[in-house]
Subunit: 338 residues, 4 copies
Amino acid sequence: MIVAMQEKATEEQIDAVIEVMEEAGVNVHRTTGATQTILAAVGPTSTLDLSKFEVLPGVLEVHRISSPYKLAGRAFRPEGTVIEFPNGAKIGGKQVAIIAGPCAIENREQIFAVAACVKAAGGKFLRGGAFKPRSSPYAFQGLGIPGLKLMHEAAQEHGLCTVSEVMEISQIEPMLPYTDCFQVGARNMQNFNLLRELGLVRKPVLLKRGIAATIEELLLSSEYIMSGGNYDVILCERGIRTYETATRNTMDIAAIPVVHKLSHLPIVGDPSHGTGRRDMVPAMAKAAVAAGADAILVEIHPNADKAASDAAQTLFLGQFEQLMGELRVIAEAVGRML
Amino acid sequence: MIVAMQEKATEEQIDAVIEVMEEAGVNVHRTTGATQTILAAVGPTSTLDLSKFEVLPGVLEVHRISSPYKLAGRAFRPEGTVIEFPNGAKIGGKQVAIIAGPCAIENREQIFAVAACVKAAGGKFLRGGAFKPRSSPYAFQGLGIPGLKLMHEAAQEHGLCTVSEVMEISQIEPMLPYTDCFQVGARNMQNFNLLRELGLVRKPVLLKRGIAATIEELLLSSEYIMSGGNYDVILCERGIRTYETATRNTMDIAAIPVVHKLSHLPIVGDPSHGTGRRDMVPAMAKAAVAAGADAILVEIHPNADKAASDAAQTLFLGQFEQLMGELRVIAEAVGRML
Amino acid sequence: MIVAMQEKATEEQIDAVIEVMEEAGVNVHRTTGATQTILAAVGPTSTLDLSKFEVLPGVLEVHRISSPYKLAGRAFRPEGTVIEFPNGAKIGGKQVAIIAGPCAIENREQIFAVAACVKAAGGKFLRGGAFKPRSSPYAFQGLGIPGLKLMHEAAQEHGLCTVSEVMEISQIEPMLPYTDCFQVGARNMQNFNLLRELGLVRKPVLLKRGIAATIEELLLSSEYIMSGGNYDVILCERGIRTYETATRNTMDIAAIPVVHKLSHLPIVGDPSHGTGRRDMVPAMAKAAVAAGADAILVEIHPNADKAASDAAQTLFLGQFEQLMGELRVIAEAVGRML
Amino acid sequence: MIVAMQEKATEEQIDAVIEVMEEAGVNVHRTTGATQTILAAVGPTSTLDLSKFEVLPGVLEVHRISSPYKLAGRAFRPEGTVIEFPNGAKIGGKQVAIIAGPCAIENREQIFAVAACVKAAGGKFLRGGAFKPRSSPYAFQGLGIPGLKLMHEAAQEHGLCTVSEVMEISQIEPMLPYTDCFQVGARNMQNFNLLRELGLVRKPVLLKRGIAATIEELLLSSEYIMSGGNYDVILCERGIRTYETATRNTMDIAAIPVVHKLSHLPIVGDPSHGTGRRDMVPAMAKAAVAAGADAILVEIHPNADKAASDAAQTLFLGQFEQLMGELRVIAEAVGRML
């Protein structure tokens, strides 16, 4: 941590800052130039609240000079994390994984049709939501665990692994038998209690970036899971909120190479939520793979325009099959495969 | 709902859209002008997912032409909602309420000192957090229910009401005896399960705007609570995330008059989170009152610079007393009182 | 234009709104439902200022239901615009164009080295800035017209076309002999006087999206040029400002398919300004091509880390050559070619 | 400037960074801790392009530790700048100045009526636009210099000073005789050529914050004017672009106390552009004064709903008179006067 004092800071102010720094448990190195004094902290600064120092009298600016995350940092595993699943699929390696399925599991026919389609197109992961708290209390709320059982059955039949969103700690236990990968939604990215519990689970976690979260905050949240001993975290870029309204969110494709530079964790692109529009999904899925995404998460449905939720951004099965063919070529063009 | 078709939309496309609209349960009125056809839906459109129609072939744009919220709308209670508390204090009337206290309840001495200060300065509400899940698993996590008991005791001694954040459904029950007003934090603004449960409680709820939430989304979330029968909802502007970094968040003061125009619910300004900086809190508290805020929520602490959390934005007790004097004058200048 | 009245709007309010609409020169169709009256305007509404109606008493919402732009709309030229240049290169067709060069033209040696490199790598366009007003009055301000002459000479020698930024109306005339395509920078996207003048020029204009401009505003600005008779406009996505700071800007890759849907104009991706970081340029250039960009604009320099401006985002020539090879494969993967 | 190296940075990388820093003309102090090396630059770093260092191999982060602006910094004039005008009015002192007038000067009758109203209400400044380049080429473009003469005449008659927007360098000279204060619009905040010319003028400049500009960038732009010798710069907060659409812009009221902390320059609040809605202007004007604004800039018009531009955000004269009364009370409540 570096504390830069104002040019007119007094000796008393400097001493007071040094005292607060020392109380926080760090060693302080002082450098006084012609116009300005700089205090450098050496020690365990990653958990310090920098803003506490910013408002001390005489302080100009405070900067953290080491990453606030450790386990998630690229240096922790320079070779990158590859996560293996029971069906042999991997996320993080040379293969680009495809995770597809409906927003919500609606019934047996739907989820089995989707599973067959994912399998046929070469995908390895089936996704579907069992719990759908909606903005309207009168809207479809999901099938719950019975829905998850259906999805698990469909996945088993086609050798797929399941990915499903967990929304509360109490759901972890009942979901465990039917879930190969727990998804944490954007709204829960900073639900630290939930993250902590998932750190104790021994199944991979797919952590979505919050709608207004920075990449650094996403990495910090992953750190929370990893600090519990669960290192199998997959990050997910699904669009952030900006002033632009032509798409539902602004998909920050650059988050993919940025995460690859800063962290060893794999990162998935979600063009469905990233755009909110079916007609934009293929272009953005291709962009994500071209930028290095380790997987694509995409919403598909046999009757996409009548899906119980997220209809506008859901692909028809035929559109998905066509997209898979296109992604295969792009993956090869960037030295990977589907 | 209005669906505007593209100029080149075919009759088949128009018919298909009409069909989907009718399936959604609305009556459709068609108007065809020289260049464009417009379809107007009459009926229960407030729960429809508009984006579903936007991606249909031939559609140019879709607009909802009625508010998506009903109970929260100004028309529901044109005279405005005034919420009464056990100690006689009101939020929403002519008096501007002051809700003050530490970010986290730390110990008996601290919370009693704060309570005495709030009382002496003329405040009617004591706030304090009992559950503090933090970004670092090693940081202070709050005292839990025992802390809440301490706050309740301190509040009782000084005739104050308590405001405290609830983070999970499971906390509602144990918090009930010690809490006069449940605060829902910004990260939980769209935790619909929690909101639904709070709709069944018969105590007021202070609902904070999410860091990337629109005012409309804030009103929709309040609707969730109200639809359960709990109409005592207080909204709170606490800053939104923008590109500006000079302050921790950008406090959207205009949300105050906008809420007053759109809704009958009272709205509170939180300059502590709104700025994240102790030195900006007084100016923004004054701005909020001048703009019509029904209450001010402010973090204070006897040793503000050593507070266990949010130290940078917490006022010292002396600063709070001074601010109260200034707010009193501003309140009068806008025809209200403290 | 649709004006939706509030549920409680009085007949007087409705009549007053109708009067203001008629004064604005449109015909009004009134539809009164069980709870709400809707007024639809038919006629030349594309130039109306909607906000004028929004603040009239009794009005709930106002929506434009036709595009505010006409010449830039996809319907105007459904087959898409292809712009031809003197050297036979095209932008907007099957080929993905490469526009490369230094941020600023610095000297003969530099610009000739770059031109040779662009030519060798298969590019058709040489870019370079002659006017560089900088945030510091003491920084390098560009070589002006003499620099442009140097670039033109280097381009001629290698059969390239030149692209250079025009910042003021007074620069158009002297730039004309040396410039094949006028670039309008992000800060000038809404400099309507400049756009109007460029509408009278008979050379293509590359119009960059403003740092906080919506896609609709970008299209409206292109309309300004086209309304003067110059239909050869190329749009450019170069990143928008958001709260994320990991990259200098957030490159809105989805703008590429959105523009292709809404407009017939070609769109270029600029990963240099889009990211501000040399190490992110290749991934984002590939993403842009995969998403359908008609051209890539990239900053390159023989001594990239010592470039007079934009050093951090400028590729070395060797990096550019390697990127060209990668882009060639991606272009083919999306059915195009370099 | 502080360059923090990555933990795994090699000696070669460190040496290379030091070399680039020294080439940039600064002295380098190296501190090597247990895990990390930090390089501190002493010398003229305010004009360095930090991003240049960020992309060097082995670099983790780079921070500027001194303000990039000097003349605009609070330390340059700790007592604050007070600007005096020919009619005796001041901006920056104890009095809160009122600058009011139509968006565009339309005709003699209009501007004289406004001038009389401003005078009667106690205002000292008359504003009005003479040049109005509009998004539509068919819309009203302003009266030009003849309009300015009208405004000047009206101002003279009532002892007011004139404020008018300059859009191009060529307009400065003809505007000079009729303009007491040159306004630079949000779109020109970084038109450095224009700012440089205004630095040579000996009349005050009112500099508006760009729609996506940070407060630091606003101060840097003011530095550009001041470096030419014109120290009479007035800053203006007029709303920034965010994801919220309830108001046209999000007025960043906190910019007022932030500027007062960082700079000695006065700052004006513009609630008309800050909200874009007539019904929100009074609340935000009051908020701005309560937060410490040195002046309020407000659009008024005798026939506000038929104003040639910005109609929706323009107050009627009666509304303005009422607002003046309210602002007078607020000003006194914060120890100032109107």
